[in-house]
Symmetry: C2
């Protein structure tokens, strides 16, 4: 058990930005929003999955939409409204909140309703990274129902996705709702039990995000290499390093989609990496050869300071280093890969686990 | 009180086709669906608004979508699923069903859930005609909340539009949901009281549809003029008569939109009428002069037999007569015109009541 205070938010934002694989919502804006909530309503207690009471009712909250829009149309208290809407619908009262995804601003989204409602958050999430689509959560892969769920906007509109024939239909209906709401909304899923959280969530990811951010900050202040600090805190490896020479990006069907092209520098000179993204980085190729794919993590950080670069802020001229991290084991099973492997994103290639 | 049996359905379909002003869903398909339901589950009792018990809980059901799609993707029991979904959400049990609009297949849509659930339907509706958008109902104009409402498809997906800041937002979110569901769905609105029905519904419209249909059938079998029979049963007048020479129609944003051009015959020769529609006929012009607009009814019928012609079946060469009927009085107040007058559809013209 620990407390998230204002002092932790900068580190969490950096760590969640790295784990966000380019998406999950802008971590800096998320940090500012969480800071405002904690300042107003107080620090938030973090419980590990094991510390949850057996009768816990854990509501997963998250932002949904395109990160390109989310940096202009900033969320307010939608996740709190969505929490109250799903509580009213189910007739159950939440006793804890869990993040849908540890990547980007979704890492700290739960802190806002938790601070308002005086509830703890769970040190875990449904991805261990970020993914673009609602149904891409380990919760649902391993049998937690994805509905009912509530979607709320900042204006006062709210919708319950009551029942769907597949988790993908929940994504489809929630996405259409989100687009109407201005491409930025928040959702809350019907409560999970402690047993469901322990069995299906990726554990200890809020701690991991904080530890990653602290490691980067420490490296910077001590003059050591921030990239090495990242890779020591979270096992992974450098995939590529260079300069962004092209970025193609469009906001379509409620997502930010596109690709970034990076020309190599130093030992990567004369090589070119292209990364496709749908909110998050999906597949990285060097000179047409596939180097890393979902569900493994493909993360861009500024080469000099180790600060994560999200897809909506990627731009020409940036010096970036691309890091790869192996996916959590819950994603590399056949069930996990069916939901979030390369084929699920339309890439006709087998998943080959990143070797670290 | 009367009973809708299979024998009434043909007359109701014809009358509702006329009152549908080109839309409301294909009345022939609606008739076949209602016939199947009554054959399987039995005749449905019709209560006038005055006959409703004081503690009645009346659920408005309707089809939503584009009529162009509705003739290819035929509805099943979605309105029954929507009824059950809104009952579950509100915790209230319906004691009667009311039509959202008497026009087109929506006139008989309530018979399907009513037959299955063994409930009566009310001899009234929320339009006294058909309109393309969800919020365009006298119920909502005069203070009945438009939410919560349930939207259901034929596959097993259902959504609750829980709360919206305006009735137009309910339309917007329900329409986006419907498009995902394949542009054809059904909805059910939270129960109304008997007092709300009596105060805000257009009364006796199911009887009117049946009487119109019977008058047309009688005229045909007795060799008298079906158009005269229509105008005797429901006061109105002939606006134009001619041959369809052009039809422009597209299915967009969940609606069938377009215009039909009719060249005049006999006393209308050398004149040309153009009618714009959005599911329903909105505005009729002769040689650029506005002849009739919403909320007054603009209805196309086959000149020879008085059979209504809906916008999705309008085609080159048809001989049609365009009838105009004054809108129910609940629509011609300032509040009514604000929701369904010409300005509400983007036409920069004042409503001028049709003179009969």
């Amino acid at each position: 058990m620990w407390q998230v205070t204002e002092d932790d938010l900068s580190a969490i934002a950096t760590g969640a930005g790295i784990l966000g694989t380019g998406g999950g919502g802008n971590p800096y804006i998320g940090q500012l929003r969480a800071r405002q909530a904690i300042r107003k309503w107080g620090a938030v207690t973090v419980l590990s999955p094991e510390e949850l009471p057996e009768d816990a009712r854990v509501v997963c909250v998250g932002g949904i939409g395109a990160p390109t829009v989310g940096i202009e149309k900033i969320r307010d208290l939608q996740s709190y409204h969505a929490l109250r809407a799903i509580e009213e619908y189910t007739g159950e009262t939440a006793t804890a909140i869990i993040s849908n995804e540890i990547g980007g601003s979704n890492s700290v989204e739960p802190l806002i309703p938790a601070a308002i409602a005086g509830l703890p958050v769970v040190d875990a999430d449904g991805m261990g990274r970020a993914f673009p689509e609602f149904q891409m959560k380990t919760f649902f892969v391993y049998g937690v129902p994805c509905c009912p769920m509530a979607v709320a906007d900042e204006k006062g509109n709210s919708v319950i996705i009551r029942e769907t024939i597949t988790p993908h239909w929940a994504e489809r209906l929630a996405r259409a709702t989100t687009i109407q709401m201005g491409c930025v909304a928040c959702y809350a899923v019907a409560p999970m039990s402690a047993e469901q959280v322990r069995r299906t969530a990726i554990p200890n990811t809020l701690s991991l995000a904080r530890n990653l951010g602290n490691a980067v900050a420490h490296a910077r202040s001590s003059g050591s290499d921030p990239l090495e600090a990242i890779l020591t805190t979270c096992p992974g490896r450098i995939l590529f390093s260079g300069k962004v020479v092209d970025i193609e990006r469009r906001t379509t069907s409620g997502f930010a989609r596109g690709s970034v092209t990076i020309d190599g520098l130093e030992q990567y000179s004369d090589q070119r990496m292209v990364i496709d993204f749908q909110n998050e980085n999906l597949i990285a190729r060097i000179d047409e050869e596939i180097i890393c794919t979902v569900p493994d993590l493909i993360c861009a950080v500024a080469t000099d300071v180790g600060e994560p670069v999200t897809t909506e802020l990627m731009r020409y001229g940036l010096r970036v280093t691309i890091l790869g991290f192996p996916a959590p084991e819950l994603w590399t099973t056949p069930e996990g890969l069916a939901v979030a492997g390369p084929l699920a994103f339309g890439y006709d290639t087998e998943y080959r686990a990143l070797q670290v």
